[in-house]
Symmetry: D3
Subunit: 210 residues, 6 copies
């Protein structure tokens, strides 16, 4: 599926395998993981391909791990059975907030894959115990803003990613002072904004899956 | 730009740099190169990312080189000046003929980039001395066919890629016996088919650029 | 310098260079970066060396980036001049909280390096505009705890890293639901605990540097 | 065995294993593959070793694949049984046409290996259903030439590799416009030359194996 | 365990596994191996991490192999049973003679590991048939010296590493002319010095293990 | 040039460059280095290519360094001027003693290259201050033997490589207990044998260069 948030376009695709990584075999439990990547011209100036450089950069690693962790928060491994789902998130066009767009889209791809598995009786019930969505929020010129585009992102003093379940609890909160440190008041304001944004995205995910 | 041939979708993007690789510096001449890659879920079953494996596979290398060579056949390096153009061809969905679709789309992206450069007076004239298009043709069950889709491609006894200029000359001819060797008659028939296919694609490229 | 927090031992060493990375040259500004690594037997069961595997894992990348970002929050690049400081954080023994121990120790190594540079008149004033310290906090069995050791860390439902300046503002907040999602109340409690912990560490850093 | 064509010297060695790659196991069928490489001083100016650079270049990949494909055209996998043959083609000295020399020599090494296997009753009949030979042909200054040496190769406007079976059918035809595109007439002339050249090489292979 | 020789500090840690490398399985015999590495700031000027460069340097490889070979000289594989011991030697601070310090310390770590295994009845007797120690000796300004520190090492005309068993026999002798070649007399003098040095280290190892 | 010792065949080729590695620039001094490699079928059973594995093994690294060190013992860098010589030693066929054969052959290639440079007035005098040759000696079944072939090498209890100058001094002595440790008497006997072997090789080198 293709997720679009403003100028950001991420292609999210789920692949199902009826096996699990070696360390998981014989446990009766499944596994969910994600891989994030950007096309070289997703950004305004071209980035070298990581396959050509022969190694994955730290940022790519970090985001792939974040997406995987976020998705796993809504999965019951036992019900999934010894199956794996890999979610590929490939950024075709980047205009800020690619990692949160990827999480939000990856959940929809995951839900589709789970539905496909259930039709084929690959799992014994519904392994999805909740949904997951994410937004980026930030302080730009002392104003808290939801869903920064690239120019806002660059200008942001503080940048925060909020990942929440559909039932309104936190899965991950990552706030970073880009320019200068922030105080508790700013943190609380950003959290409020993030909570509202995630609730709205949860609604859109439900519509898209219905 | 997104090229679609049947179920095959390739995203072709050109990036312009006002410099050339080291071995070319001071020559007054430009350079054109291409990079081809497939998203992991472009095919029906998922392929591992080459960035994760840490090395580019032989097939990827081979196709990137073919696209670059094909494009360079219609470029006058002197007129291009000491500028480089990289064409990224990323296969979003693969259903046969991805390399020829990539060449055909890459030419359009190249022509767009050259137009953009000429507006900015980056080159002294038109560095494009011709156009380039490519088709795959093959013999399936003794019938020569144009533009094989994936199931035909797998069934093909002979597979041929024909790359031609808009003025009707050959840039590259690659015929491979997949199943059993082929004779001169079959080769001639496939060439005829390829010539006709390239002529039609040249027409479509002109329309798309107009 | 060797930082010890409970069973965790991290060797932090600063290296000064009178040059900056290429993208920074001519800017008149300096750069601070960090590299984190674990010895193979820092943990209870041996981990393969990343040099032997030929690539750095995602976790190592992620932590190196976090340490670098945290340190840069207290540095004025202009005053530093075109000099670089690399902080190496090598975990000799790991018992939970290695990344926050590394940040706290890295600041002390950085302050030592800056003092050394100032003696040699390598910078025009004090490039350190604040100090930085970090703690890990977590919810174990519904009780919020400061500075988790390894067994607590494994048992934690929520795990949070708080990085703060000596003046009491946030540099980075990373809260992750390991077991199950957490609500706003738990988040607030963990933040309170983190704020108190960082204040105490700031005091210890000052003593150590005095 | 050492193949020499003019100044080109290629060492071709076959290695037999009584197993097949994982994806082939249990099929009852064998596999034939090839690896091509150049010694660093095979050419006039030294090339860096690919082992030192840590990655195989596109050209090496492309040629290894071509040799493997060509050899497989004359092998019956069923008769070969679940055995593998790897042909190593190492260029000791390069003076044009190394890939076609490698194919021609690789076939002789393959035939030797098959004879050795048949003596040991490793296969149930003759897995070689034909022979394979290859030549390079090209247009230099508008004259079609067989078996280009290095200086001719560099000067060639069109370069074509023709791989044929001993029974006179095509396995692979690769024609590339180095300088300027070529027309159907030139293509036909080059094919005629290639057909004659391959027939002569087939005769020499038979003599060498007798 | 931490070995210190003058300014040289090496951390030696043994890890026991109840399995052996694939090529050793089913032989009833064990295996002992070693990995050597230097922290980036072990030396006076920082060295890049080998994990960051993505490959292990020749010197590291060479020393890891030497340590492994030396340790294996005092091990009876049959008595060890199908178990492996890996000794990690990480140089925290380097001031000459790191490889010989590593061997001497690695033996003590090995002996500790063997004692631990014998308590757990993992082997059927004592797999250690002797002990192993090593010293570096050299000629500095025509004077033979034992245990060179870094400044002496740099100034040495000849550098020799002597590895001996506790019973006084040679395991490895490596003499290298750094500046100018040496004659038989100098070689003999260095050997005498090495023999005496190893005997003294054997005594210290026994004390440390008692 | 091709060196043959019994069944061992090593191709040694020197390449001259009128530049030096970066760390040597501006010193007025040259550099000599060597690269050793084995073809995959040099041995009786095929070894994987190091280029395919993507990394150079420890043994290859170790031998390349030994050859380089040995050659540098007879070179006067000042007279060589800011030029580099790389000696490639590629083992076509291995039957014991490949590293010592490589050193002995590499010296001849080096002397040829130096003669070629002197003809072209690339250096101001003779940068070769001596010659270098090497032999392997070993104890097989308690008998000391010169120049072990592969079956002897495998059976050897002690293996020693002796590298000497033409004037009869030691450049490198490496004795390794393969099976069981050796005493001073055995060491002395092996050295005597090595000294005699190197003297004979020095004579052969002179003949070959005359």
């Amino acid at each position: 599926m293709l997720v679009e948030f403003g100028g950001t376009k991420v292609l999210c695709a789920a692949s199902v395998q009826d096996s699990v990584p070696r360390w998981r075999r014989g446990s009766g439990q499944g596994w969910v993981t994600a891989e994030y990547a950007m096309l070289p011209r997703a950004t305004n100036t071209r980035n070298d391909r990581e396959s050509v450089r022969g190694r994955i950069g730290g940022r790519t690693h970090e985001i792939s791990r974040l997406i995987g962790r976020s998705l796993r928060a809504c999965v019951d491994y036992k019900t999934l059975g010894e199956n794996s789902i890999v979610i590929d998130c490939d950024v075709l066009q980047a205009d800020g907030g690619t990692r949160t767009a990827a999480i939000t889209g990856a959940y929809v791809a995951l839900a589709d894959a789970v539905a496909w598995m259930r039709e084929r009786k690959m799992c014994k019930g519904d392994p999805l115990i909740d949904s997951v969505a994410a937004v980026s929020v930030g302080v730009v010129g002392s104003t808290p803003l939801l869903d920064l585009c690239y120019t806002e992102d660059v200008a942001a003093e503080t940048d925060m990613n909020v990942v929440m379940t559909g039932s309104g609890e936190f899965v991950e909160v990552q706030g970073t002072a880009e320019g200068k440190p922030f105080n508790r008041g700013a943190l609380d304001e950003l959290l409020d904004l993030g909570v509202a944004g995630c609730a709205e995205l949860t609604r859109l995910q439900r519509e898209s899956l219905a």
